[in-house]
């Protein structure tokens, strides 16, 4: 399995094209397009994204997205791998999460509890699902689709995600074509 499978797996999970699929899979970006080099994330932004990611993939008996530094990963990917259109959606989306939190709980996202965050993002996830289902092909992605995709991608290719939540052997040494699987065994990371 290769990176293409990792990316298309995320697409399958979310029932739609991966954001900037042309970036991750086929790369048909016009060479004339300027990259948004001015995108910069502050430590507060990273902390915020860590908490968003942690809400999506929390710590259980295995580490969560925050321990896997998914917030940092998200900023690197938005800066280097998103085109300007998607960068704009993502940056505005960060503000929208915070606004939604204030509207629902009278407090910003960083000030609400873990349960409140889960409640809030579950609502936004539903809103995102409806939007993705009904949107036209040329409409932009929903910001939460971006955040969720980057979270899953970043987490399951992190050391914590790949080796603790899943199973990963760097050098398998052999191929066993048919081995027994019992429910509860973790999936291979790659």
């Amino acid at each position: 399995m290769n990176r293409r499978d990792a990316i298309s797996r995320v697409a399958l999970l979310l029932g739609g094209t991966v954001i900037g699929a042309e970036i991750f899979l086929n790369g048909c970006a016009s060479p004339d397009k300027k990259v948004g080099a001015s995108v910069d994330f502050t430590p507060d932004d990273i902390a915020f994204l860590d908490e968003v990611a942690e809400t999506i993939i929390p710590q259980t008996d295995t580490p969560g997205a925050k321990a896997a530094k998914v917030g940092t990963f998200m900023t690197v990917m938005v800066k280097d791998c998103y085109d300007e259109k998607n960068q704009k959606i993502f940056l505005e989306g960060m503000g929208k999460v915070n606004d939604a939190s204030k509207k629902k709980f009278d407090k910003g996202f960083m000030s609400i509890t873990a349960e409140q965050r889960k409640e809030l993002l579950t609502e936004i996830d539903k809103e995102m699902k409806d939007y993705q289902k009904n949107k036209k092909k040329e409409d932009g992605a929903h910001y939460f689709n971006q955040m969720k995709q980057l979270t899953l991608l970043g987490y399951f290719t992190s050391e914590e995600g790949a080796t603790k939540a899943l199973r990963y052997v760097a050098v398998p040494g052999r191929y066993d074509a048919c081995i027994p699987y019992k429910k509860g065994d973790k999936a291979w990371a790659l």
Binding site: M1, N2, R3, R4, D5, A6, R9, L13, G15, I23, F24, G27, C28, A29, S30, P31, K33, V35, T55, I56, P58, T60, G64, F73, V76, M77, D80, C81, Y82, D83, K118, L121, T122, K129, L153, G154, T157, S158, E159, A162, A165, Y168, A170, V171, P172, G173, R174, Y175, D176, A177, C178, I179, P180, Y181, K183, D185, K186, A187, W188, L190
Partner: protein, 571 residues
Amino acid sequence: MPGDSLNVNLNNQSVSQNTYDAIVVGSGISGGWAAKELCEKGLKTLVLERGRNVEHIKDYAGTEKDPWDLPHHCNLTQQDKTESPIQSKCYAYDEVSKKFFVKDSEHPYNQVKRFDWIRGYQVGGRSLLWGRQSYRLSDIDFEANAKDGFGVDWPIRYKDIAPWYSYVEKFAGINGNKDGLPQLPDGEFLPPMEMNCLEKHVAAQMKSKFKDRVMIIGRSANHTARVGDRGPCQYRNKCHQGCPFGGYFSSNSATLPAAARTGNLTLRPNSIVLEVLYDKDRKRATGVRILDAETNKTQEYYAKVIFLNASTLGTSFILLHSVSDAFPNGLGNSSGQVGHNLMDHHYGVGANGIYEGFEDQYYYGRRPNGIYIPRFRNISKETKRSDYVRGFGYQGGASRGRPGNGDGIGVELKEHLTEPGVWRMGIGSWGEHLPYYENKVTLNHDKKDKFGLPTLDIDCEFKENEKAMRKDMMASAAEILEAAGLKKVKTYDSNPAPGFCIHEMGTARMGRDPKTSVLNKFNQMHDVKNVYITDGSCMTSSACQNPSLTYMALTARACDHAVNELKKGNL
């Protein structure tokens, strides 16, 4: 324009210093073989590679890294897309392997019709990156042009090349199963890899439900047992990043080291061959002129025999650029065929589906090989089609992903995503491309590259036979999966441009008649007996099998011929 020649004074010493028994242009999958064979037969051989050096293992930085140790976890950036919009589309292009691809911005060409030219300019060429699938052609392929009239007759038949397939398979290290199929001759194999349980199920269903088609395990150049000092394969499935275990065949891991061991090899990277030098009185090539990519100076090298292995379009460039009084249209081009008859396999069409079963089955390791369905159309009277000629094969495989439902967030989502998902299988098809004279490359002297050299105009398309074949490629894929009980079977046709399969070939084809072909049955130029061409450009038809094994066999056979001709004084 190129810089000053270092050969202003052609004194005897400088000529003799730059004289070899043989020159090989290109160090990719066929050039590496030419180097090995010529060196092992005692010839002092100069290998000229246009790109930089890449040493086996030493220069594979990044292959040892896990995804989290890479800045983008092995994903591509906007910069990749901007610098290499074409290369970055390739399945093998990732954060680590991209250093083995050219930067499109540095190596322009002109698409008269859409053509994705995927290249690797370094020692080893694309043998570092290749898909490693290795299949023999059969007489069904060698007789095809003569039988249906497209192209010209191959000047060889299977019996001519069979011993050479055996010869190269043994050294290269090809795994596979002896399946006894006339359209896909068996080879000298390392132990075959194994099918997983869904693949075994589908293969068994195919056997019972179709009398004319089979699914076999793929045959690949991964070493399932140790081959000399190489391998065995460790099932990381990161071959294209370079293998620190020497687990698959490349020039870097196998043929170049063998050549070097003889003491007869001189490898000169950063050497762009501009032209083959020709002596019209002796009717022989005398050597080549190169441009040094680092110093921008030209240099001449001389040899008794020259092998052009610069890859199909690289060799086309050299021939078309080697203009002289004797050959105003390019070296050895009295036929007018050089640059014409360009072919590539057409692929990216097939089907996939899910299988509700085998929940208690899984696998261990990442197998760098899949299944193969050999050609079953137009291989006999019974399988003759009325809608197209020639045929296609399938590659594919089955796997369990992780669940497709990503609804919701939190603990339930996380737990759901850490279980293997439903079994899925996909098969994709590779189809033959007929040789059409109008599919061609020519030099564009108005658009020069950064070296001041003309660029290539590439004018190539798939035509009616290919389009008709694709309908069957897609429908038959679905038929196979549905017959095996797969559900939610979906077909696809991604309609890739020519070039994207990276099996471009045919522009200096072999043939019986010097009026309609460029090479004779030993890959010698009809017009220039001491120039041999054994890369993809020599192919008279494309068949549907992955072609690299055939390039290797033709190369070893041609080297044997060349050395014998030298000994007899014929060159």
